[in-house]
């Protein structure tokens, strides 16, 4: 599946390890937030992951103390109609200050990518959009009406010279 990050197609070296499966001895991997916290807090022994994959119902807030240790947060979109990941992204970027890679994973449509970018995503791993689709989608709008994690400054600020 193509992975597009920061406007380029890049190789994907990450593995997501579902709950209950053995953690890999080497290579970067992500786990669910519950398992991540268990490993970090010593309730489970094993290699410490530097990636987390959020499901739509997961709350990103408990990750806050560890966000500096994370290189990757994946936000899973099991269906494109489920927009909870947009709120998770805005929270991670704007409230919790997460700086690492924020990747949309799963059933992501090309035409959602502009909104994803504005919500704070910088990487897209989806069968529905390769590099050219992502680049096209990102260029479709040059203005925005409201502040968000990313993208053009809100029109109401530009109007008044801010």
């Amino acid at each position: 599946m193509p992975l597009v990050k920061d406007g380029a197609e890049v190789p994907n070296g990450w593995t997501f390890v579902p709950d209950g499966e053995a953690l890999p001895a080497s290579g970067p991997f992500s786990v669910t937030p519950a398992r991540f916290l268990a490993l970090k807090e010593g309730r489970e022994n094993g290699p410490l992951p530097d990636g987390v994959r959020l499901g739509p119902a997961d709350d990103p807030a408990p990750l806050e103390p560890f966000l500096g240790d994370l290189c990757l947060i994946e936000v899973a979109f099991p269906r494109y109609t489920d927009g909870r990941g947009f709120s998770q992204a805005q929270l991670l970027r704007r409230r919790l200050g997460y700086q690492g890679e924020l990747r949309a994973v799963g059933h992501v449509l090309r035409d959602q990518i502009f909104y994803m970018h504005r919500s704070g995503f910088d990487a897209y791993e989806t069968q529905r959009a390769g590099l050219s689709e992502v680049l096209e989608a990102l260029a479709e709008f040059s203005e925005a009406y409201q502040p968000a994690a990313n993208g053009p400054a809100a029109a109401f600020r530009k109007r008044h010279g801010a």
Partner: protein, 552 residues
């Protein structure tokens, strides 16, 4: 009214280009109908029973003559010569070819219009009082805040894939003409100690599980209202149900959590917003938008108009129209005129291209260039000098728009029903027209007075049957259409849901049943000025129900 600047114009132009590309991908087969669906929906394009339908946004119901003429042109060139004004102050065209829609959107963009977010699970057109800026009883003109909300909600990146659609309505008058308590969010603008703020109601709605909204916050200062709306939206986006589309509206979240817990969650989210997240609209931007809604410079006139009084004395039909279709204006010598789109025998809310052009002409000549669409599916000329009313009426009447029935029994809210809609279980327009016929005598209708009948062709309630004084709901029973009657609903500041009174009636029995209820009211009212809804509330439903089912 609001005018686009370079930012608004660029966004709308970019949307047209984007949708043109999406339609090309659909027509070439690069997009399946399934993948195209969410894209077309966010642009107001529905697949109806016979064809695609295009719903065009009329933000808070306001149109300029130039815009209304453009809608007439689209009706003529791309539809069958008419358009249908909706209960959310929008207009829809039922016969537009998909390949033409990008061109139609480009024609709309020329006159600063669009179809953005008129469907789909996103924030829809913000609606308001159709007499905004003219009504005597408003504390401020709500349109500036509607425009601010329109901009904030347009292409909001976080709230485009909500659990379900989301509708916001705003009023600034004690008498609620915007039905705010049956919206997902209802805002009542109030003033307290010199500060403008919003009383916030959440979780109203109709559909299959109707709810009256809960009062969530009695006063959010205007400087914080967008942040508060963001908190409401985020709690809904994160926690609204997504497992069942019939339980996905915010009203279900509010009722399942309970009002107290829901309010706690919104307040907690609002309190958690960090400074960098605050929208912090510059005062200069608020002032810029307010300036577009400055009242028109109405020439001073005497409160009593001699030409009006003379015309009333000379023409009883005109006099009756002035008793029904005028609303008091804040400036003496003026009135707001309702142009009824409910003449006998016409699908409620429909207007032909020629009628739209006439209303545009009248607005230009007599109405300071201002036109509104009401949620009751009529057009409004908000600022007309009393002296000009005889000429305005004459022109309207000649075009079939002279019905004297605003808020009267034949001024029904009616969904398109099974004639157009693929959700409907029953036809709604024919049953509405059959009921209208019973009350066709204008003197009889005037004697009955204010009475709202709302008709829906299925439980999705697009015809607002829950909040009609009399509601009519079409249902399908083993392939046959039946109509259930509801009594006692209302959408105003005393909002209440009507109750189904008994077994459904066959279509042909509905007019006589409604007639019996109305006759019962006429014999029971304490005086000719006691309204139907007041008599019903005074006496209770039982006796009315008996009248409804009395053998005819």
């Amino acid at each position: 009214m609001y005018r686009y600047d370079q930012f608004d114009a660029r966004l709308v132009a970019e949307r047209v280009a984007q949708f043109r590309g999406q339609v090309e991908r659909r027509l070439s087969g690069a997009l399946t109908e399934d993948e195209f669906k969410p894209l077309r929906l966010q642009n107001g394009v529905y697949l109806q029973l016979h064809a695609y339908m295009l719903r065009i946004a009329i933000p808070y119901g306001q149109l300029s003559p130039r815009q209304l003429r453009r809608l007439a042109e689209i009706a003529r060139d791309h539809d069958r010569g008419f358009g249908h004004f909706t209960t959310r102050q929008n207009i829809q065209f039922n016969w537009v070819a998909l390949k033409d829609i990008p061109e139609v959107l480009a024609k709309l963009a020329d006159v600063e219009m669009h179809a953005i977010q008129t469907s789909g699970n996103c924030i829809r057109n913000t609606t308001t009082d159709h007499f905004a800026g003219a009504a005597q009883d408003e504390v401020v003109d709500p349109r500036a805040w509607c425009e601010i909300i329109r901009q904030w909600s347009t292409f909001h990146p976080e709230f485009a894939f909500l659990p379900r659609k989301f509708k916001i309505a705003v009023t600034a008058a004690e008498h609620d003409r915007a039905a705010i308590r049956v919206h997902d969010v209802g805002l009542h603008i109030r003033q307290k100690d010199g500060v403008t703020g919003f009383e916030v109601h959440v979780g109203g709605g109709q559909g299959r599980t109707p709810h009256i909204a809960a009062l969530v916050n009695p006063f959010v200062p205007e400087t914080q209202i967008l942040d508060y709306l963001e908190a409401i939206m985020r709690v809904y986006n994160r926690y609204g149900r997504r497992d069942n589309k019939y339980k996905a509206r915010i009203k279900i979240l509010v009722s399942e959590l309970g009002e107290a817990e829901y309010i706690r969650q919104v307040e907690a989210e609002f309190a958690a917003q960090r400074d960098a997240e605050k929208i912090d609209l510059p005062a200069a931007e608020v002032a810029r938008i307010h300036a577009y809604f400055a009242p028109p410079a109405l020439a001073p006139k005497p409160a009593l108009s001699k030409p009006l009084e003379a015309a009333k004395a000379a023409d009883p039909a005109f006099a009756r129209w002035t008793r029904a279709n005028l609303h008091p204006h804040k400036v003496a010598g003026y009135a707001s005129v309702t142009v009824s789109l409910k003449p006998l025998g016409v699908a409620p809310g429909d207007a032909t291209d020629a009628q739209m052009e006439l209303v545009a002409d009248l607005a230009e000549k007599y109405g300071y260039g201002d036109i509104r669409v009401s949620h009751a599916q009529n057009l409004i000329l908000p600022h007309v000098a009393l002296d000009d009313l005889p000429d305005v009426y004459k022109a309207l009447d000649a075009a079939g728009l002279g019905a004297a029935n605003e808020s009267r029994i034949t001024d029904m809210i009616v969904c398109p029903g099974l004639d157009y809609c693929n959700l409907a279980n029953a036809r709604s327009i024919p049953v509405a027209l059959a009921v209208q016929k019973v009350f066709a005598d204008p003197a009889y209708e005037e004697d009955i007075g204010k009475l709202h009948i709302n008709v829906s062709g299925c439980i999705n309630a697009c015809g607002h049957h829950h909040v009609g004084h009399i509601g009519i709901l079409g249902v399908d029973k083993k392939g046959e259409e039946f109509y259930q009657i509801l009594l006692g609903g209302r959408a105003d500041e005393k909002a209440a849901l009507g109750e189904i009174v008994g077994p459904g009636l066959k279509a042909e029995d509905v007019p006589a049943a409604i007639h019996r209820v109305v006759e019962f009211y006429r014999t029971q009212r304490s005086s000719p000025s006691e309204k139907f809804i007041d008599t019903l509330e005074r006496l209770g439903h039982q006796t009315f129900q008996e009248a409804l089912y009395a053998a005819g």
